[in-house]
Amino acid sequence: MPVPLESKSLKKIYRNKGRSTTAINDFTFSVKEKGVFSLLGRNGSGKTTFVKVSTTQLTPDDGYVRVFGKDVVEDEKELRHMISLVPQESRPFPHMTPYEHVYYFQKMNGKAREESKERAESVIGLLGMHDFARTECVNLSGGQKQLTMVAMALSLDTQIYFLDEPTIGLDIITRKGVWNAINKYRDAGKTILLTTHYLDEAAFLSDEIGIVSHGNFIKQGTLDELRSGLEYDTRVAMRGRVDHRAFEPYGKVHSDERGTVLFTSQEYVEKILSDSSVRKERIEIGPIGLDDVFISLVGEDIEVDEN
């Protein structure tokens, strides 16, 4: 059985009026079947371009992307039967209801009326959209509109779903509504490729995470695998003024205007706590998080938006 998604030495360059911008320099990775794979990166890191290449919107300049063994260029027609997409910053038709979106999207894809109705009812029910399913989208909240787009994509019975930043710009409560929808499909055994720059989203939803930066695929693994790839397993956050040189023997110290974070090993925690210069009420100790992994792999420099 071929893997759901495989990218090898992928390169994509945008050319416009004599200028060229490398959006993807080298993406080499593969996605396992069933579950959520999150492509995590900052704006301009190549996530959206990758989705566009994978969904046959753009052609690669070099390398390849295969979806269940089908090449995005050579087998594009077959491949389109296997994929479904929520594009970045997509919006529903203002004058239509969420139910109509799903129903007509089914019919548009060749389904009969009865089958389209049943499918629309089933997806609306699964995603918990009954309360607003027959309200015109112009009157819905941002999250409900986004759920409509997700419902439309998920209504197709395809083998892999591409969700390009489906929660961008939404508040945390609304984002959780979209997360629930994604989780339900993951639990139903579907394969989902999700792009996001929200670390909490990637940590919450993903079975596996791929980290990208500046058009390069940096690393992939489960959250635990990514954590274990770091030299340290514990983060010690200290608020207020701290003489960070005192902590350098214990690990890596990072200071900014918010305070100081020491990346260290569990074995040093007691020594740190016994240090008289540390005010205990201003200290937080915990395991390394995805944000720490991300910063250690990607850094904190600004990236340019690829679009």
Binding site: T56, Q57, L85, S90, R91, F105, M108, N109, E136
Partner: protein
């Protein structure tokens, strides 16, 4: 295959035609206001004898204008809603997508077209064959300009660029060509330019069918069909349906 195409086209027709018309009927008035204004002025300055020419012009202008304005819808769905990306990643045929939305666009013009057709039939007493020929000519005009709109919409990258473009095309293809007047009224060299525009041939055909009882319509009909095939080939070759694939 045919059944699936039918479902694709009717769904898009509902999405771009019947549903918005049902919920926003005000758009109906906007679509038919311009050709009826022209008819009013033609009647005012030309008298009752010019009503037929005004109605023939009105029916043609309505089709050309609606098909040209399709550019705006197509671009809105592509750039603002990103709906074209959703569709382009499915097996849906781009021409079925275009014809579905174009049919939806025509839904708004149907009341206006019906009134103009009623005036034409009442004024000229044409028979069934002539009515069907008029409808065929209008359908070909609709295909040509819908495809042209599709081509333009796949090439434009900014929403704000499309408004001046669509208004300009509407005037160039809908108002300036000899719809409301005879082509012989144009100076010699300008006539050659006018013959390049499909609307000119559609106008010659309609006048030939309605006023001259099919006299001399064979050549315009042939040229018109060839123009449609050229636009179809040109659109298939140069439309950029899936973003910039190069």
């Amino acid at each position: 295959m045919i059944r699936e195409l039918y479902r694709t086209i009717t769904s898009l027709t509902a999405m771009n035609g019947f549903i918005p018309l049902w919920r926003r009927p005000i758009a109906l008035i906007a679509v038919i206001s311009t050709p009826f204004s022209f008819l009013f002025f033609i009647y005012l300055f030309g008298g009752p004898s010019k009503i037929l020419i005004g109605a023939i012009g009105g029916v043609l202008f309505t089709i050309v204008n609606a098909s040209t304005m399709l550019q705006t819808d197509l671009l809105f769905y592509k750039l603002d809603l990103k709906f074209q990306q959703v569709v382009a990643s499915t097996p849906i045929n781009p021409l079925a997508y275009m014809f579905g939305l174009a049919t939806g666009n025509i839904v708004f013009t149907l009341p206006g077209l019906a009134i103009f057709m009623a005036i034409i039939v009442y004024e000229s007493h044409i028979g069934t064959l002539q009515i069907l020929s008029v409808i065929g000519t209008l359908a070909t005009t609709w295909v040509i300009f819908s495809m042209f709109s599709f081509l333009v919409s796949t090439r434009v990258r900014e929403m704000r660029d499309i408004w001046p473009i669509s208004v300009m095309f509407s005037i160039i293809f809908g108002v300036v060509p000899p719809i409301y007047y005879s082509i012989s009224a144009l100076p010699g060299p300008v006539q050659y330019v006018a013959y390049v525009v499909p609307t000119t041939w559609a106008a010659i055909l309609l006048k030939g069918i309605v006023i001259q009882d099919f006299a001399g319509v064979a050549l315009p009909a042939l040229v018109f069909v060839i123009e449609m095939l050229c636009v179809l080939a040109f659109t298939s070759r140069f439309s950029d349906w899936r973003l910039n694939r190069s």
